[in-house]
């Protein structure tokens, strides 16, 4: 079974630029999560989808971050404009449905200069 795929693996941008990350969850998984992991910290949930609906986006900085999962499969996370403090690893995870085991992708490492 293929795991959660993410791209790109690394991205370097300057502050105020825009960036987008892509996630392809495990086939058949209805729930998809985006986490932010700042260096030396544990992952923090940004947004959670059940199929193409948002379950929880309470910790998403909505003035600059947006995410979508239009067809209930792949998802994109966008930052516009980026700030220095957005430098982090952005992890995508998926689960069969709510309250099931979450499987993580390898993450996208973002550096904002």
């Amino acid at each position: 079974e293929a795991g959660v795929a993410q791209s790109p693996r690394y991205k370097i941008i300057e502050k105020r630029q825009s960036v987008a990350f892509w996630c392809n969850p495990i086939s058949g998984h209805a729930t998809l999560y985006w986490y932010q992991q700042i260096l030396g910290q544990g992952p923090k949930l940004l947004i959670q989808f059940q199929n193409n609906g948002v379950v929880d986006d309470s910790q998403l900085p909505k003035d600059r971050f947006s995410a979508e999962r239009l067809k209930g499969v792949d998802s994109t996370l966008k930052i516009q404009p980026a700030k220095l403090e957005d430098s982090a690893v952005y992890l995508c995870a998926s689960s069969l449905t709510l309250k099931e085991t979450q499987y993580f992708g390898p993450g996208t490492r973002l550096l904002v200069l």
Binding site: V4, Y33, G40, Q41, G42, P43, K44, L45, Q48, V55, D56, L91, A93, L98, K99, T101, Q102, Y103, F104, G105, P106, G107, R109
Partner: protein
């Protein structure tokens, strides 16, 4: 006070040592508890989970929960260099959604 606290380490031990990794939590409503392992430049992977107080064993790994003290532990017996990773405790938020609340992670290095 953070909901989940974990000593970031790093912890460096010789091969074969017994390792103890710990977390404390503040919310008595938390019902079950997980340990994730994260290798460098990889995503976290679920190692163990437990619902109740007491011990749960899986091979060289033992998860322990003390709900009265709000304290969870992961023990690794006969540690191996391949165990070198960051270990994250994670607790599902009991308030409706199942988002995971992670500790900061403890970086473990097992040297030969």
């Amino acid at each position: 006070q953070k909901e989940v606290e974990q000593d970031p380490g790093p912890l460096s031990v010789p091969e074969g040592a017994i390792v103890s990794l710990n977390c404390t939590y503040s919310n008595s409503a938390f019902q079950y508890f997980m340990w994730y392992r994260q290798y460098s430049r990889k995503g976290p992977e679920l190692l163990m989970y437990t619902y109740s107080s007491g011990n749960k064993e899986d091979g060289r790994f033992t998860a322990q929960v003390d709900k009265s003290s709000k304290y969870i532990s992961l023990f690794i017996r006969d540690s191996q260099p391949s165990d070198s990773a960051t270990y994250l405790c994670a607790i599902p938020d009991p308030n409706g959604t199942d988002k995971l609340i992670f500790g900061t992670g403890t970086r473990l290095q097992v040297f030969p």
